[in-house]
């Protein structure tokens, strides 16, 4: 298995290089003068020209690409054109914010989605099953934008239960160490802030987790239905094991392999694609970071940001593949 892991890690290199080529060519094909966009309407022609030179925008395309690749090999992600800060340093808080949100969203989606799917399959064609499947269908097609604003309206404005925006109580903040605020508030021993940080996570996690939750529920249901028909489950039932034990212990394990794939893919897509949720909930995550870089033509940030997301995505997929082996020893790697 260790050789498999090594092989998978080595494959990463050509994949990432491929990514750089794709991202680089696409963003350079977008029309719009970066100098004008970055410096704004009020900048002079002189400084725009200076910026173009500094960015190397007047050099040939291929030369620009190889300079970028060379820097990347040295571990230099470049500097943001807009803020002039090194990207490697700048992206960390955004990444932490996104990880925190993605993690809780996926916990929500996995827990609710899997259980709903399991119970639906267990009680196939019951009222519960129908209701869950309708909810799952609505969940998949619900616009996040609308869902987010509705959540705010109900839980913040009407009920005053939960905060509507941000990551923690800014009036009395905890010092950032890891930028993962749950951990930061534990380090600082601030249990009151830990509580607020968790409350801040609830609404955006539900908004972001709803679609994956619905997908996971449907996937779990169909996968469970298939497994429930198999011989070994019938045997287990025949042995007189309790229904709960059969479903959660025997059937779930084999049914969870396709579900795991879906969870992995969904987690990956949430990482970079949470722009809408991050916008509604003023969540300073990596999706918004890249989105803003795109609208201001901040080439280095777009390139490196997407590359980092791609890297994490690939790592998550690797973890999923390894988990297959853990769950089902019959799966072997050559």
């Amino acid at each position: 298995m260790s050789s498999y892991v090594l092989k998978r890690l080595l494959i990463l290199i050509p994949v990432l290089i491929g990514m750089t080529i794709i991202v680089f060519s696409i963003i350079h094909a977008i029309p719009g003068d970066p100098a004008e966009t970055i410096l704004g309407q009020k900048a002079t022609e002189q400084s725009k020209e200076a910026l173009r030179q500094q960015l190397g925008l007047n050099k040939p395309w291929l030369q620009q690409y190889f300079t970028y690749l060379g820097d990347l090999a040295k571990g230099d992600l470049g500097k943001s054109v807009r803020t002039k800060e090194p990207i490697a340093k700048e992206i960390m808080p955004y990444l932490a914010a996104t990880l925190e949100l993605t993690f809780t969203s996926m916990l929500f989606a996995t827990f609710v989605g899997m259980n709903a799917g399991i119970i639906s399959a267990w009680r196939q064609n019951s009222w519960f099953d129908y209701i869950i499947m309708v909810i799952a269908l609505v969940g998949v097609s619900m616009p996040i934008f609308w869902l987010g604003l509705m959540e705010q309206w109900i839980f913040s404005i009407k009920l005053h239960w939960l905060p509507s925006i941000g990551r923690m109580d800014q009036r009395d903040p905890v010092e950032s160490v890891t930028n993962l605020y749950i951990i930061d508030s534990i380090i600082a021993g601030r249990w009151d802030q830990l509580w607020t940080v968790m409350k801040h996570l609830v609404l955006p996690s539900i908004a972001l987790g709803t679609i994956p939750m619905a997908i996971i529920a449907r996937m779990t249901r169909s996968s469970m239905l298939e497994v429930m028909k198999s011989d070994y489950v019938r045997t287990a039932k025949a042995k007189g094991l309790s229904q709960f034990f059969v479903v959660y212990k025997h059937a779930l394990k084999n049914a969870s392999i396709p579900v795991l794939t879906v969870i992995g893919l969904q987690t990956g897509s949430l990482l970079g694609g949470a722009v809408l949720t991050e916008t509604i909930f003023a969540w300073p995550g990596v999706g918004r970071y890249i989105f803003e870089a795109i609208s201001s033509r901040d080439y280095p940030v777009i390139q490196s940001g997407i590359l980092i997301i791609a890297f994490i995505f690939i790592v998550i997929n690797l973890i999923v593949d390894l988990l297959y082996a853990l769950i089902d020893p019959r799966i072997q790697y050559k």
Binding site: I30, P31, G32, D33, P34, E36, T37, L39, Q41, K42, A43, T44, Q46, S47, A50, V81, R82, T83, K84, E90, Y94, A97, L107, F108, F111, V112, G148, L149, Q152, F155, S156, I157, H160, W161, L162, P163, S164, I165, G166, D169, Q170, R171, D172, D192, T196, M198, K199, L201, V202, T279, I280, A282, P284, R288, S295, S296, R297, L326, I327, P329
Partner: protein, 555 residues
């Protein structure tokens, strides 16, 4: 391994329970325990004694984050808003106006030829790092901005406002800045510049601590040090900027607040939700649609920013038939400005007649607008040789982004489109993404007509008319490619003229020329709305969009 999986699953479930289930359950309990308070959840966590005291922390909600915190290197409004709290300029604008008054400079003298300005500086002022503010500091800052080889011009920095207000390197208006003694600075100009004092008062010319600039180098743009009412504390990018009271501020008794937290909340509706939930105390850029909700809430108030902008519809004079003034006049009669104001601005705008707002001195009130009359429009089109309307569809660039002067460009464009089609002008609306939009309109190859706008930077008509309509601004802000030599002569003369009365006359004349040539259809001057808690007092919004928060307090 099997155990491993079950442990993992169990842990997952436990975490979700604590985060979602328990979270809302106990929240519910908390809320029912204190049914009377409609305060935010945030406030409930404040320590008990704080509740008795009046609030001394302001949380400000705005749409975007700052790009950098050194106001000299930026041009965007969001950055300047923070710069204005941390830095002071030599002069400043009166609260809520654009008239200049003393700030770091207590008084000034101008030589009769308008070439020498001598400023007497305020004594005893200290930068936030404890160093003294003096003439040397002023000289240091101006040299940093003007010398392209300055060692304190750090990688990637450009002093755009300095270049655009005082001319680019090679043709600088400010020839020399020297310290006469500790508290006297003398500026020598290469040529008279009428709006000089007005320019000096801009936030971008806030004086930074030389010691801090030398020590922090390129970090100065994220750790600014000035003499302003608030001291920079922390910047969480795209999230919040925290400022604290400057206890040694030179204005007696100010600032009244202890702390200001400026939060970036991109979505207008979400920002309004946060205000209603008490998470922020004041917000900018309310959706016109939310105005009725705001007005129905007794715990909130509406604050109007003075109107100091223009939204306009520009003609691309490089394209036929828009090079024909008759066509432009015809279309000017086909825009129902009042209708647009009523339909899309919730009444928070006025129809525009000239390319600058009526609140600005020099505005020519005697100019009559082209009235909304489709018959006249048709007649004029016929006179221009198009009795059946224009043969080709017109490409109309409508802004894809919301701006204070134009919250929803596409909707307004659709309204204009409907009217244009009534006089036989087919309109094809395009809204490419903002960067492409700016690029295309600047190049002028794709658009026939376009929508754009401007908010004044300082209280001078030059900043509207010269910047937007002079031939010097091609390529750039003059996206109509409008060239009129007479106008150019007048505008240059007005820049050098020292007598205010003469300048008023010159600008009035310039507006007559523009009215006749019709490079634009001026659309509206809007009144941007801020929404705040009702107990917030002392907020005086500035027309330029940048005001100090030093007079704000809570009742």
């Amino acid at each position: 391994m099997k155990r491993w999986t079950s442990v993992f699953l169990a842990l997952t479930m436990v975490m979700v329970f604590t985060l979602t289930g328990c979270g809302s359950k106990s929240d519910g309990k908390q809320a029912s325990e204190t049914p009377k308070t409609t305060d935010s959840t945030e406030k409930k966590e404040d320590p008990k004694p704080e509740e008795k005291k009046t609030q001394d922390t302001l949380v400000f909600g705005r749409g975007g984050d700052s790009v950098a915190l050194d106001p000299a290197i930026v041009t965007d409004g969001e950055s300047l808003k923070i710069g204005h709290q941390v830095f002071d300029s030599l002069l400043e604008y009166k609260e809520g106006e654009t008239e200049v008054q003393p700030a770091l400079a207590e008084s000034w003298e101008v030589s009769p030829d308008g070439l020498k300005y001598t400023f007497k500086l305020r004594q005893g002022v200290k930068f936030h790092d404890g160093t003294d503010f003096n003439a040397e500091a002023v000289v240091f800052n101006f040299q940093r901005w003007s010398d392209p080889k300055s060692e304190f011009k750090f990688e990637g920095d450009s002093f755009d406002y300095y270049d655009s207000m005082f001319g680019p390197d090679g043709s600088r208006v400010i020839k020399d800045v020297k310290a006469v003694d500790t508290n006297t600075v003398e500026f020598t100009l290469a040529q008279p510049q009428a709006p000089f004092l007005q320019n000096i008062a801009m936030t971008c010319f806030g004086i930074g601590s030389p010691a801090a600039i030398k020590e922090k180098k390129e970090n100065f743009k994220s750790e600014p040090v000035g003499t302003g009412p608030f001291v920079f504390k922390e910047w969480k990018r795209n999230d919040s900027i925290t400022l604290e009271k400057n206890p040694n501020y030179w204005k007696q008794g100010l600032p009244k607040l202890n702390k200001v937290i400026v939060r970036s909340i991109p979505d207008n509706s979400a920002r309004f939700n946060a205000l209603q939930n008490g998470e922020i105390d004041i917000m900018e850029d309310l959706n016109p649609d939310d105005l009725s909700v705001l007005e129905s809430k007794s715990d909130l108030q509406k604050i109007n920013r003075p109107s100091f902008n223009i939204a306009y519809l520009g003609f691309n004079l490089k394209k036929k038939p828009f090079d024909n003034v008759k066509v432009r006049e015809a279309l000017s009669h086909a825009v129902n400005k009042q209708g647009i104001v009523d339909a899309f601005f919730a009444g928070q705008a006025k129809p525009a007649v000239n390319p600058m707002p009526p609140t600005l001195w020099g505005h020519n009130d005697s100019i009559q607008d082209y009235d909304y009359n489709l018959d006249t429009a048709k007649k004029l089109l016929a006179e221009a040789g198009y009795p059946n309307g224009l043969p080709d569809p017109v490409t109309f660039y409508a802004m894809p982004v919301s701006r204070p002067y134009m919250p929803d460009g596409k909707k307004v464009a659709e309204a204009i489109q409907a009217d244009f089609e009534k006089i036989g002008v087919k309109v094809n609306i395009q809204s490419p993404e903002w960067a492409t939009y700016l690029d295309d309109t600047k190049a002028g190859a794709k658009d026939d007509i376009y929508m754009m706008g401007w908010t004044g930077d300082n209280g001078d008509p030059d900043n509207f008319i010269y910047t937007l309509l002079d031939k010097d601004s091609i390529p750039g802000n003059n996206r109509s490619f409008y060239v009129n030599e007479d106008l150019h002569k007048i505008l240059i003369e007005a820049q050098k003229e020292v007598s205010q009365d003469k300048r008023v006359e010159l600008y009035k004349k310039s507006q007559e020329i523009i009215k006749k040539d019709i490079p634009w259809i001026p659309l509206v001057h809007t009144t941007p709305i801020l929404a705040a808690k009702a107990n917030l007092k002392g907020y005086v919004p500035s027309p330029t969009g940048t005001e100090a928060y030093s007079n704000i307090y809570f009742e």
